[in-house]
Symmetry: C2
Subunit: 223 residues, 2 copies
DNA sequence: CGTTGATTGTAATCCAGGCGACAGATTCCA
DNA sequence: TGGAATCTGTCGCCTGGATTACAATCAACG
């Protein structure tokens, strides 16, 4: 199954080849930035391998993670309508292989391929849907519920094998905090609670869902 | 100036006429729903006059407002990738005049007009940007800051005349609470504070910004 | 193989804002 | 014009989670 947001995976063989022929490839190490807020919007990027996070920073330096990107995804499309420039920053979570091309080149490419544009609308729309859901969580759920929902979602998205995936979720407590809008200490405390009652198993940096059913019981809003 | 999200306003005369020729018009009174979450996605809508709100509901019945729609905007494009069906509900804030057409018809229309698809990407992207900003506010700001930011944004968007607009913001405290994720009472309390110090003037249901500069001082994160 | 930096664990304090409970104001509509 | 319904204003209590402050682990690299 191809994920909704897997742009490259949803192009047909030929179109993909034509597109990739116009790109140049490069590599980044862990924790590097592909671009930052307010950088000029002159390139579009395609993630070939690795994982990235799209984020923003608050005035006082807190990071807020908007979503993760997986291989096959496009990013770097969006320009702020006001001050021009990037609206978000993109940071690698691990070593990544990326293909890039000029924004103008990509626009030309789209101009003659309406189907691809429509696909892009779908992809951006699905990100919109994700953020809309997150916003509802923020408005309605307490910290524990938000974290439980995050873990369930991530697990589904990450190793979408559906089977009894015991693979750890490769996130630090800090990242979980940045995703759910809580303090790092609060994340640690709540993860500890969830582990103690048996829903999670954790061994330093290796958080994984032990009891899927039990965890999902915490995703029902408490507030 | 045409707003970024004003779809109809950004089409050229001819394209707009062709599009509108395929629509049928109808009217709704205040507080009616154009469609609700999980309704089938078989129509696309264009707001001709009035104002709408796009929202979701929490399991316990709380409303979360995602964004407002103004004349010229398209809505009803997005389908949930999982369970199919609408991802959001759309409710009128006042009597509205709306044009609608079938989703398939609209897809065909787009198929032969790549420029319009690209415009749509921009529009969906700008909503994505708005939600991303809201998410950052939720994660980083306290209630007072969120409300102050909301009022500033609304004022800019609403009566974008830029001049010393003394027009009231036509929202109830409940709506402000639904937009900022606080209790209705909290919204009332904070609005009262802002009014007492002279940033706002309020006379039952008629909230307007008295001192723009003073209000914007509250938009600097306190936390 | 030990030092350094990142990550995790825990505990005490404190307050913003949720929640419940009304009382008054205003608008709407019969 | 007179309810009814919807909005607004104000309390007090109480809890979730921010904040501050360390200590303990782990991993990575010279």
């Amino acid at each position: 199954m191809v994920a909704t947001t897997d742009f490259l995976g949803r192009l047909d063989e030929e179109t993909r080849a034509e597109l990739m022929a116009q790109t140049t490839r490069y590599r980044l190490g862990k924790g590097e930035f592909v671009f930052c807020v307010s950088d000029p919007v002159d390139t579009v990027h395609f993630l070939l391998s690795g994982r990235i996070k799209t984020c923003k920073f608050t005035p006082d330096g807190r990071e807020v993670i908007l979503w993760f990107g997986f291989p096959g995804e496009v990013f770097g499309l969006i320009q702020s309508p006001h001050h021009k420039g990037r609206m978000v920053s993109v940071e690698t979570c691990e070593p990544c292989e990326i293909a890039k091309m000029s924004s103008n080149g990509f626009q030309d490419f789209l101009g003659s391929r309406p189907k691809v544009s429509q696909l892009l609308v779908q992809i951006v729309a699905s990100r919109l849907g994700m953020l809309a859901n997150r916003l509802v969580y923020f408005a309605a759920d307490d910290a524990e519920t938000r974290i439980a929902k995050l873990l369930v979602n991530l697990d589904a998205r990450y190793h979408n094998s559906g089977s009894g995936s015991e693979q750890p979720i490769g996130l630090t407590h800090q990242e979980i905090a940045d995703l759910t809008g809580v303090q790092r200490q609060t994340a640690t405390r709540i993860l500890g609670r969830l582990a103690k009652c048996g829903a999670l198993s954790m061994r330093y940096r290796r958080i994984s869902i032990r009891d899927h059913e039990l965890l999902s019981r915490f995703t029902a809003s408490q507030r």
